[in-house]
């Protein structure tokens, strides 16, 4: 690989980073859109909506900080394979928890509030709530499936960390 090609890759990487940062702004805007609807319909729910918006915006900061502060493999050449691999697994596990706390949880709150809004509308206009039931069932299934899959992934990562601990013990 020539040096010119590497410099081109550096430029591509910068462009990709900019795109990712812009992409990560999309979710809060979607969330704000949802809330806008709810706030207009039900002023009583405004504090809940405002809290969820603030949560997802703060989450955006923490998630991005977590992602960008990660050392790239090229910065870790003084670490051995064992150290680096363990750090990567731990970082992945931590990232998953951060996503749950700062991204998934505000989305859950949004959905919950949205369902509450629909239920309130349903009281006024009886046709809406039953019609929205299939959608809500799908949402609940999606949330449950997401949790089950991610928890299994977490357990697998933990198992790998345990294996690496065993290897380290055998190393001594």
């Amino acid at each position: 690989m020539t040096l010119e090609k590497i410099r081109q890759k550096v430029r591509e990487l910068h462009a990709k980073t900019r795109r990712q940062l812009l992409g990560s702004l999309v979710v809060p805007f979607v969330v704000v859109g949802f809330y806008g609807f709810g706030m207009k319909e039900f002023p009583a729910l405004q504090p809940l909506f405002a809290f969820a918006v603030a949560w997802s915006l703060v989450g955006l900061y923490f998630l991005n900080r977590g992602m960008w502060s990660a050392a790239m493999p090229g910065d870790a050449a003084l670490s051995t394979g064992l150290e680096f691999y363990r750090r990567e697994i731990e970082r992945r596990r931590h990232l998953f928890r951060s996503v749950l706390l700062w991204s998934f949880a505000p989305v859950l709150l949004t959905i919950g509030t949205f369902i509450l809004t629909l239920a309130k509308i349903g009281v006024r206009d009886r046709g809406i709530f039953p019609n929205a039931m299939p959608f809500m069932v799908l949402v609940v299934i999606w949330i449950a499936a997401y949790f089950v899959i991610r928890m299994r992934e977490q357990r697998e990562l933990q198992r790998e960390i345990d294996e690496l601990n065993d290897i380290e013990r055998a190393n001594r």
Binding site: M1, S79, E156, N171
Partner: protein, 181 residues
């Protein structure tokens, strides 16, 4: 002025070190990438990523370890990150212990396809978790247990034990495969 000069000297040194590494280890990096990634397109990307990270890493190279150890560490780190990023939700990678218990599912297919032993070896290596892959790939690059230990962080005894086990698995599988062909 002095600051600018030292930056440009540093950049030139970084480029020189990279050129040196690329001249000597490009083919080893290509072999390493193929041991980590089966898909040709992704393999090319992985190989480019290794070169890129290698070039970046030379900003910090202080000759505390040999150039070879440095190159292999960076290459394995990039590849291990790649494996973690690419792996499916339910990973199908196995430890040495699990691999020893697994039957060789591809046996019949290998016999039918008449695929080469080298390809078979690649498939086996790609089933392993990154740390074991590092050991066997380094071993196949003719490194001794001490050098492999420097790269992986395993003790030479642990490296030797792992190599022995991997060789046993390979021998058993190749023997079984040979019987069917």
């Amino acid at each position: 002025m002095g600051g600018t000069e030292s930056i440009s000297t540093g950049a030139a040194r970084q480029d020189d070190l990279y050129r040196d590494a690329a001249d000597n280890y490009s083919s080893a990096i290509a072999r390493l990438a193929s041991a980590y990634e089966a898909d040709p397109e992704k393999r090319r990307d992985l190989s480019q990523d290794i070169h890129f990270q290698l070039w970046r890493s030379f900003q910090r190279y202080d000759a505390r370890c040999s150039l070879r150890t440095w190159v292999y560490r960076v290459a394995h780190h990039v590849a291990a990150s790649h494996v973690l990023r690419e792996r499916k939700i339910f990973s199908n990678l196995v430890s040495l212990e699990e691999l020893e218990m697994l039957p060789d599912k591809d046996q019949g297919q290998f016999a039918a396809d008449q695929r080469s032993n080298l390809e078979r070896l690649s498939v086996l290596i790609q089933q392993l978790k990154p740390l074991d892959r590092q050991v066997i790939i380094s071993y196949l690059e003719d490194m001794d247990a001490v050098s492999i230990g420097e790269i992986t962080g395993l003790s030479p005894g642990n490296v030797a034990m792992r190599i022995h086990r991997i060789k046993n698995i390979l021998a058993r599988r190749f023997h079984q495969g040979g019987g069917n062909e």
